[in-house]
Amino acid sequence: MAKWILMLCLAWWGSSGTWAKEAIPAAENPALEAQMMQIAKELRCLVCQNQTIAESHAALAIDLRQQVREQLLAGKTSDQIYTYMTARYGDFVLYRPPLKSSTYLLWLGPIVLMVLGLMALLLVLHRRSKLPDNAFDADDADISSST
C-alpha cells in the first residue's frame, strides 16, 4: 500500500514537473520575457475573459504576447503598449480600468455604498441610544445565566 502511494506521489510529482517545464516560455531573452509578462499580466484575454494574456493559452493571447514582445524590442514603453491595446480592444482589455466619467460608478460605487451603510448604522445606533430603558426587552434569563 505504501509503495502504491509512493508511486502515485512520484507520478504526480513527475507530471507536475513536466507541466511546469511547458509553462516556461521558450525565449532567448529572459529579461525581455519578464518585462513582457509584466505587461501581459495587466491585460485581459478577450477570448477567455477571466484570464490575463499572460496566463491564457488562447491563440489570440499568444499572438498578443508576441505583439508585446515585438513592441518592447522596438523600444515602446509599457504605456504606449497599453494605448495600442486599448485602441483595438477598448478599456475592457485593462485589468485596471482608468478612472474617467464612464467608470466613476465602478471605482467610487463601493466607497459610496460603504459610507451610506456606515451612516445608516450610526443613525440607528444614535436613535437607540436615546430610547428610554423600557423600550428594550429585558435580557433573557437563560442567556444571561449561561454567559
Binding site: 491563440a59 483595438r88 477598448g90 475592457f92
Partner: protein, 176 residues
C-alpha cells in the same frame, strides 16, 4: 414618515430587480469596439484566391462596404455562411471577407465547398490585421462607410434578424 418606512424596502427591491434585469441583458462576451466612429485600420493584404493581388484600405474608400471575418477552422462561420450567402444575393453592397489565421488552400477549399458570398477575401495569415481591427472571436462583421469610418460591428454569427434590423437600415442610411 411611517408610510415611507413601508415603501422603502419595496423601492429598494424594485431597484435591485431593475439592476438584475439589466444585468441579464448584458452579454459580457460582446466587448464594445473602440473602432466605432473611428477610421478603419489600414491594411495591405493579398487576396485569398490570388496571392499576387494586393488590396488595401485605400481601395475601398468611396463606398459603403462590409468586412466579414471568417476562417475555415471556425465552426460558427459554417453556421453563419448560408445567412451571408442569402444576404449577398440580394444586397448591392460590397462584402469583403477577411480570412483570419488560416491556410490559403484550406480557405479556398472552404469557399469552393460552401459557396462564396465575398467580392474578395483578404488573406490574413498571421492575424496581424485581425488584431488591428480588434478581432477576438470569429466570425465578426464590420460596416465601413464611404469615408472609411467604421460604423458598426457585430460579434458572432450574423443572423437574418441582425441583418434585417441592424445592417440593412444602417446601409440604407449610409447610402442615402
Amino acid at each position: 414618515m411611517s408610510k415611507i418606512r413601508f415603501l422603502l424596502p419595496l423601492v429598494l427591491l424594485a431597484c435591485l430587480v431593475w439592476f438584475l434585469g439589466a444585468g441579464l441583458k448584458l452579454d459580457p462576451k460582446e466587448v464594445p469596439s473602440p473602432l466605432i466612429g473611428r477610421p478603419a485600420p489600414d491594411f495591405q493584404l493579398t487576396q485569398l484566391d490570388n496571392a499576387q493581388t494586393v488590396v488595401s484600405r485605400a481601395d475601398m474608400v468611396g463606398q459603403v462596404w462590409i468586412l466579414n471575418v471568417w476562417a475555415s477552422w471556425c465552426a460558427a462561420c459554417r453556421e453563419e455562411h448560408p445567412v451571408l450567402l442569402r444576404f449577398a444575393a440580394r444586397t448591392p453592397v460590397v462584402i469583403m471577407g477577411l480570412d483570419y489565421k488560416d491556410e490559403r488552400a484550406a480557405g479556398q477549399r472552404w469557399l469552393r465547398n460552401f459557396g462564396n458570398p465575398y467580392r474578395a477575401s483578404l488573406f490574413d495569415e498571421d492575424g496581424r490585421v485581425g488584431i488591428d481591427w480588434g478581432v477576438y472571436g470569429v466570425p465578426e462583421t464590420f460596416v465601413i462607410d464611404k469615408e472609411g469610418i467604421v460604423r458598426f460591428k457585430h460579434i458572432g454569427p450574423l443572423t437574418d434578424e441582425v441583418i434585417q434590423t441592424r445592417l440593412e437600415p444602417l446601409i440604407r442610411s449610409l447610402n442615402g
